[in-house]
Amino acid sequence: MSSTLPTPAPAISPETEEFWAATARGKLLLRRCDDCQTIIWYPRPFCPACGSLKTSWTEASGRGSVYTFTVVHRSGIPGYRDALPYVVAYVELAEGPRVLTNIVDCEPDQVRVGMPVRVVFHDTGEGNALFRFRPDEDA
């Protein structure tokens, strides 16, 4: 069951430092273009849509829906091997971008395309947390 998925600490770059720091406070940050308002994923200091260098952080609602997913039944990756079967999914955030993530806190066979989900954070023990998504009963 997916609650046992490992939580390896991320590699942090200057562009993602604030993003990862916010995860420790239970916040999902997104970069937004100040010129064309495009929401940028993954965090980068420029806008991939218009090229602008004027971008700033905005806090995401943490809500979204499953765009697509797969259930992993075989994995040779140490750690993940013990968590089989688990769900790898694209979640389309309410703000627009699709993020690659896991769906947790439900049986893999309960996951459906379009299913409302909300973000949860799994502590890495190193001052930040991994964002994953769980079914959103309130939606």
Binding site: P8, P10, A11, W41, P48, A49, T70, V72, R74, S75, G76, I77, P78, G79, Y80, V88, Y90, G96, P97, R98, L100
Partner: protein, 400 residues
Amino acid sequence: MAAEDIWVLGIHMTKFGKHPDKDTVDLASEAVLGALADGGVTMRDVGVMAAGNLMGGAAAIGQQIQKQVGQTGIPVYNVANACATGATALRTVIMALKAGEADVGLAVGVEKLAGAGLLVGGSRAPDAETWTRRGRYGQVAAIDGRIGTETMPGVFAQIGMEYAHRYGGVDFELFARIAEKNHAHSTLNPLASYQKRFTLEEIMNDVMIAYPNTRPMCSANCDGAAAAVVVTDAKRKTLSLEQQRRCVKVSASVLTTDPWEEGCQVLPNVNTLTRNAARQAYETAGVGPEDLDLVELHDCFATAELVHYDNLMLCEEGGAADFFRSGATWRDGTLPVNVSGGLESKGHPIAATGIANIWEICHHLRGEAKDRQIEGAKVGLAHVIGLGSACAVHILEAAA
């Protein structure tokens, strides 16, 4: 066009297939010397050179080739752009000519792939007992077999099935019929890897590599090289009438990459950059798909050929299956596609492919394609795509 026109003066490709007795430098040198002889010039006339070899791992392949064909001290650009490497080499010297740096340029692409098997993913080592994140791309584990595939047959199988799902009217047999066509075409091409006609049943019952592509629906790994000599319009006018008559005009030379989109981060999008390249090429050349007499497109798999009918705008959007079923793309159809046999049958020595397809078009435009000549061909289009991605489209026209 602002800059002056560029012309293909000489062009040559080696036999595609197994060449156990020749290395990449041998094959490339044969192509270069053939192209120089075809154009009636020597290395003394060449002012700039570009060379591509993707899988050989040889640094400075261009300089190695120069030692076999002639060292004159000219600049050589060693280029790599996945399956678009050969076309990139050609475009590099075209740009140098347009920039006024030289009036004769030489481009060559070479690959040795016979017996190489799956190029990505299939030969991946088993996962280690411990996994460590490292580097820019090692932050996530390998996706192959977990959330998609990195193998070329797998990727292009999905691309074909995506098209089938989006527009309908496409099935396994239709894809197999595309391979049937290309294998039938190559029976007229003495330089093709395979010159064997396959029946539809043979194709459909062969080993399934990645549904819906069976083995004869996949590009043939083989050895080969191709080279082209290009000249400026001013230089062309100084040449003999016979050389001028055989020159083929490069009406468009376009190279594109993926524009940013909120798309899939696993399955590559081969459609948008191809469509963009085609649009730019038609605009630059001042011709439309309806003006083309033949097309050599990047049928690395039968599924790829179908989607590129659409991407190159040879048919209505979503109409590729009907377009193929009409018989249009057979050599006796209204717009013959891959009369060389294409990558599926002529073969796909990666870095050579983007010049070899131009060799094919040039031979038809010159009226020198013998048994497989498309009668009266005046305008042709050559297309390649390399994943990563890079797409090149060249439009060529016969000398008036």
